[in-house]
Amino acid sequence: MSDCILEMKNITKVFPGVKALNDVNFKVERGEIHCLVGENGAGKSTLMKVLSGVYRHGTYTGDIIFENQIQRFQSIADSEDKGIVIIYQELALVPELSIYENIFFGHEIMNGMTIDWNETISQATKMLEKVGLKIDPSTKVKDLGVGNQQLVEIAKALSKNVKVLILDEPTAALNEDDSENLLRIIKELKTHGVTCIMISHKLKEIIAIADTITVLRDGATICSLDAEKKAITEAEIIKNMVGREIDNIYPKRENKKFGDVCLEIKDWTVEDPVKGRDILHNVNINVRKGEIVGLQGLMGAGRTELALSIFGNSKKYKLKSGEVLLNGEKKSFKNPKAAIKAGIAYVTEDRKGNGLVLIRDIKYNISISNLDKLTNGLVINENEEITIANEFKNSINIKAPSIMQKVGNLSGGNQQKVQLAKWMFVKPQVLILDEPTRGIDVGAKFEIYSLMNKLVEQGMSIIMISSELPEVLGMSDRLYVMSEGTITGELLAEDANEEKVMAMAVKS
C-alpha cells in the first residue's frame, strides 16, 4: 500500500530574521487527499511554495523527492513539467478570455506556427467534463461565478497532466453549494489517480474529505494524522494547531479602568462592489475607553475589511446597513481624512504597501497625518517638526541614525514604531491596530505591547486585529472572534483559551 509519490525531507527555509520552516517533513501517498492545516504563519504556504519552485532550489535546505527522484526546481515551470500544479486562492485566470483560451493559456496546442483552436476547444470540452462543468467552453471567464472559475482552474491543471494538485484554501471564497461541489470533484479526481494536497482552515470539510491530515505549527510539522484508519475529530486537530506555549512576553497592566463605550459598530453589513457579495454580515462590536479589544480570526475572516470600511474607505466597500457611534453620537466618514478628524486612527497591517511612504524620511512619515498642528498660516514649522520627531524617536526607541533616515531602510519593527508614532502624534480616541506585530522580532514586539498598555492607560481605546492567538489572549481585555464575515463569538480575556477561540475561528 505504501506508495509514496512525494516526500519533502528536512526542509528548512529562512527569511531574513525569521525561520519560516524548521526541519519540516512531509510525506504524501499516491492517490490520496492530503490536508495541510495550521494557523496563519504556520508555514503552509511557504512549504507549498518550496514544493512548486516559487522558492527555487538552493534558497532552502532539505530535499524534495518526487517519484523517487530528488528534484531541483528552479521555477514553477519546472515543477509543472513534472506534474505538480498549484492553484492559488487568488485565481490566475484572465477574465476577458474564454474558458478554453484560459485552460490552455501558456501551453497552447500548436499546429505548426498557429494555435489549433479546434483541437483546443475539443480538449477543453473533455477537461470540463472531468470537472463536471456543463458550460459552453467559449463562455468568458468573467461571466462565471467564483465556484465555476475554481473548476476552470482545476480543468487547467488537468490539461497539464497533473499528478499532484495543490489547492490553497480552495473553498475560502465559495458558498456552501459550490464548496460541496468542489469537494465532490476533488474526490472524483482521486479516482482518476490525481493526488491532491489541500490547504484549508475549514475543519468540517477537512474531516469530510481528508485521507491524511498534517498539522504545521510555527514552521514545524506537529503530526500527521491518518484519517483512513480512524475518524479524526475537530477537537483533535485544534489541539494540535494550538498548544503553543504563551511566553511571558505580554507586559501586565495594573489597575485597569474602563470608561464608557467609546466606539460602537451596529449591524454592520458590507458588500464588496467588485465581487458583488457580502463580506461582512451584521457585525456588532464596541470598545470602551481604556480597553484593548482583540479581534481574532483567520485570514479572510473579514477583519481588515471591517476596519477599513469603518475608516471611510468607501471606494472599496459598499455599506448596506449599519451605523457607527462615536461616544454615542452617530457618525459616518466619507474618507479616512474625516475619520481621523473625528478621532479614529487605523494602523495598517501592510506597512510597506499602504502604511508608510518608504522613499521619505522618519520625520516626514511621523508628521504627515497631523501637519495642521505644525502649520502656522501657510508654512510648516520645521523646527517644531524636528523636535517632535526626535521626541518620538527617543521615547519609543526608534533605532535609526537620525530622523532624516529613509523609512524604507528601517527594519520591520522600527517601521512599525514610526507608524505608531505617526498616530500617537494625532492622539486619536480609538486606535485600530491591524496585525501590529507581524514580521517583527520578539524584542520589538514587547516594546509595542508596552506602548499599547501606556496608550490605554491614558484613556485611549484600542482595537487589535490579530491572527496570532497568544497575542490576542495575552493583550486583550475582551475579544471578538470572526469567521467568514460574521462575529462568531465574544469572550472576556479571563474566560478565553486557545481551544475556545480556535473553535470559533473555524466555525462556518
Binding site: K337, I359, R360, Y364, L371, L378
Partner: protein, 403 residues
C-alpha cells in the same frame, strides 16, 4: 597641538569629502556637468557666439514658456500622472489672449488675468475627469490635445495669425527690466543690484539652514566644503548677472519665471500641500490612509498645470508678438523631457522644481545651440530624444543602486 592635527586631517579630507559627495549625489551633479559640457560644446562649435550676452538673453527669452510648463509638469509627474494637453492649452490660451487684447481692446493685465482663469477652468475640467470620473490622465489629456488643438484653429479661423501691437504685452518675452533712471555707468545697475541681493539671500538662507541642522546634530558639509559650494554658487550667479548687465539687463521673462519658481519651490518644500504631493507620489494608499485628500490634491495639480500652461501661452505669444495656429506643437515634449532630465523620478514621488529649471536649460541650450549651428530640425529632435532617454536611463539605474 592637538587642535592643529584635527585641522590638518580635516583639510586632507576635503578631497575625500568631495568624492563622497560626488558619489552620493551623482544624479544631481550629472545634470550640472551635462549642462556645462553642452554649453562648452556649443561655444566651441559656434566660435563663441553661443556664450555672448545677446544669445544668453535670447536663450532666457526662448526658455520662458518651457520653464513655466516644466514647473507645473513636475508636480503632475511627481503625482505619477501626465499632462499631454499643455502644448495646445498654451496655444489656445495665447490665441484667446490675442483676441481679448486686439479685438475686445481689454487692458493687458486684465487680459492676462482672464487668460489665467481660462487655464484654471481647463485644469478644473481635466482634473475632475481624472479624479472624480476616473479617466486616466494619459487619456484625458490626450483627448485634451485634440480638443484644444481644434479650439486653437477655430479661434484663429477668421483672422488667421493675429499680430499683437501692444508694446507692454510684447515686452514680457522680449523686453528687459528698466535701469534706475539718471545713472549712466555703461552697465545695467539695477541688474547688478538684483544679482547682489540674490547672492546675499542665497548665502543668508544657506547659513541659516546650516546652523539649524547643526542645532539638531544633523550631518552638514564641513566648513571648507560649505564655503567652496557657496563661492561656486555665487560665482555662477554673478557671472550670469555681469554678462546680462553688460548687455540690456535682466529680461522680464527671467523675472516671471523666477517668481513662478519661488512660489512653487516654497509650496513644495514649506507647505502641507507640498508634503501631500510628495506623499501621494511616494505611496498614494499610505497618503490616503494618513488622511490626505488625494483627489483634492490631484485636482489642484491639474488646475495649476493648466493655469501655468495659459501663462506659457501668454509668454509664447508675446515672444512671437503674434498668436499663430501653429503655437503649442510639441511644447509638452519639451516640458516633460525637461522635468525628467531635471531628476523627477519616473516612478513618481521625487522631483524638485529647482532642478527642473536645470533640465529646461539643458533642453533649451540644445535647441538654441543647434539652431545657431544650423542643424536641421529633424536632427534636433533625434538629439534631444537621445539625451532625454540617456538621462532617464541613468536616473533609473542610479536610483536602483541607491535602494
Amino acid at each position: 597641538m592637538e587642535t592643529k592635527q584635527v585641522k590638518k586631517s580635516s583639510e586632507k579630507n576635503i578631497g575625500s569629502e568631495f568624492l563622497h559627495l560626488l558619489k552620493a549625489n551623482v544624479r544631481d551633479y550629472m545634470m550640472y556637468i551635462a549642462l556645462v559640457i553642452i554649453m562648452i560644446f556649443f561655444t566651441w562649435k559656434t566660435n563663441g557666439s553661443f556664450i555672448t550676452a545677446r544669445n544668453l538673453s535670447n536663450l532666457i527669452n526662448q526658455s520662458g514658456y518651457v520653464a513655466v510648463l516644466a514647473i507645473g509638469m513636475t508636480l503632475i509627474l511627481i503625482l505619477k500622472h501626465i499632462d499631454l494637453s499643455v502644448g495646445y492649452v498654451a496655444g489656445f490660451s495665447g490665441a484667446v489672449a490675442a483676441i481679448i487684447l486686439t479685438q475686445l481692446k481689454v487692458n493687458v493685465w486684465f487680459t492676462i488675468l482672464l487668460v489665467l482663469i481660462v487655464g484654471l477652468l481647463i485644469g478644473l475640467y481635466q482634473g475632475i475627469l481624472v479624479t472624480r470620473v476616473g479617466v486616466p490622465a494619459f487619456v484625458t489629456t490626450l483627448a485634451g490635445m485634440f480638443i484644444f488643438r481644434g479650439l486653437l484653429s477655430l479661434t484663429l479661423q477668421k483672422t488667421g495669425t493675429i499680430i499683437i501691437p501692444d508694446a507692454t504685452f510684447n515686452a514680457l518675452s522680449n523686453g528687459f527690466i528698466p535701469d534706475i533712471p539718471g545713472l549712466d555707468m555703461g552697465i545695467h545697475v539695477l541688474t547688478v543690484v538684483i544679482g547682489v541681493i540674490a547672492v546675499a539671500l542665497v548665502i543668508f538662507s544657506q547659513l541659516k539652514a546650516r546652523r539649524n541642522r547643526l542645532k539638531y546634530n544633523f550631518k552638514v558639509l564641513s566648513m571648507p566644503m560649505f564655503l567652496v559650494s557657496l563661492v561656486f554658487v555665487t560665482a555662477i550667479i554673478m557671472t550670469i548677472i555681469v554678462v546680462l548687465a553688460k548687455y540690456s539687463g535682466i529680461p522680464w521673462t527671467a523675472i516671471i519665471v523666477a517668481i513662478v519658481l519661488l512660489i512653487y519651490n516654497f509650496m513644495l518644500n514649506k507647505t502641507k500641500l507640498g508634503r501631500y504631493i510628495y506623499g501621494i507620489g511616494g505611496n498614494d494608499q499610505a497618503a490616503e490612509l494618513s488622511g490626505v485628500d488625494v483627489k483634492a490634491v490631484t485636482l489642484f495639480a491639474f488646475c495649476s498645470m493648466s493655469a501655468l500652461a495659459a501663462l506659457a501661452g501668454v509668454l509664447y505669444t508675446s515672444r512671437l508678438q503674434s498668436a499663430t495656429p501653429a503655437a503649442g506643437l510639441g511644447f509638452e515634449l519639451d516640458a516633460i523631457a525637461s522635468s525628467y532630465i531635471g531628476g523627477t523620478a519616473v516612478s513618481g514621488g521625487i522631483g524638485k522644481v529647482t532642478n527642473t529649471i536645470i533640465g529646461v536649460l539643458v533642453i533649451m541650450s540644445l535647441t538654441n545651440g543647434m539652431n545657431l549651428m544650423g542643424v536641421d530640425v529633424s536632427y534636433q529632435y533625434i538629439v534631444k530624444g537621445i539625451i532625454f532617454i540617456v538621462a532617464v536611463a541613468f536616473d533609473v539605474r542610479t536610483r536602483k543602486k541607491g535602494r
